[in-house]
Symmetry: C2
Subunit: 150 residues, 2 copies
């Protein structure tokens, strides 16, 4: 089992530059190299990259993943911190949902208040954004846009 970086990418669904990026960030160890200096991976790296991919899909930061990997490499330690990290992530996700729901309500009100066939001077969307008083509730300091995988 000697995989090139492209093989590894194909098997895990992680793009080639991203694998190199993970290596530079210390999430993957520097692998063996071929005679011509190309990376060669084995089963261990395949599994580790799968772990990282899975954790990223669940929204864990690379920092949190590094901590989880550290723990994985020391099976004798207590798993308290893994649980704490997962619960922290769960809390963060729930908080995001809460904020996005408030946003959704306000945006729906604003977007549906405008038929789109008038002039900009009478636009309810623009008026709502210009005047916070028009809002049904206080949604200041709500969620901001997020980065997402395609």
């Amino acid at each position: 089992m000697f995989l090139s970086i492209g093989d590894l990418a194909a098997r895990t669904g992680v793009k080639v530059p991203t694998i190199r990026y993970y290596e530079s960030r210390g999430l993957l160890e520097a692998p063996l190299r071929s005679a011509g200096n190309q990376r060669r991976y084995g089963r261990a790296e395949l599994e580790r990259l799968g772990f990282i991919r899975h954790a990223r899909d669940l929204g864990f930061s690379l920092e949190a993943i590094a901590a989880l990997i550290e723990l994985q490499d020391h099976p004798d330690r207590a798993c308290t911190s893994a649980t704490r990290i997962a619960q922290g992530q769960l809390g963060a996700v729930r908080e995001k949902i809460r904020r996005l729901r408030a946003l959704e309500a306000e945006l729906a009100r604003i977007a549906e208040g405008c038929t789109g066939d008038g002039a900009a001077r009478d636009c309810y969307v623009l008026a709502s954004l210009a005047d916070h008083e028009l809002c049904a509730r206080d949604h200041s300091i709500e969620a901001r846009s997020s980065t997402q995988r395609s």
Copy 2:
């Protein structure tokens, strides 16, 4: 009414460097300057910054906000694009909520499957992340972490 950048920041809740950043991005016009080259703002800028702040709170990108401002400056145009932008944002928010809910379910299952008092080798959190087969549903390509205001 001649506000310094600090006064403007205090009145709108937008931080001073962020105001300068908005100016550099073209969302705010370059204001008048004092004899000593310091920015001086009036009511128009206060309102515009309030508009931007409000739209950012609702998750609009700076690009979308620029388009909305452009429309605001031309009250004779049709407000079709404002409605489209708002509805696009609403759709994006709804999609994020949908993804985050799938994530929440999976994270809750993982986090609550572990008491946190065992050793890392038996940790359900780590096992779940290592093996996608353990997942209750397919949540690959879900939401990634988002940027949010404090």
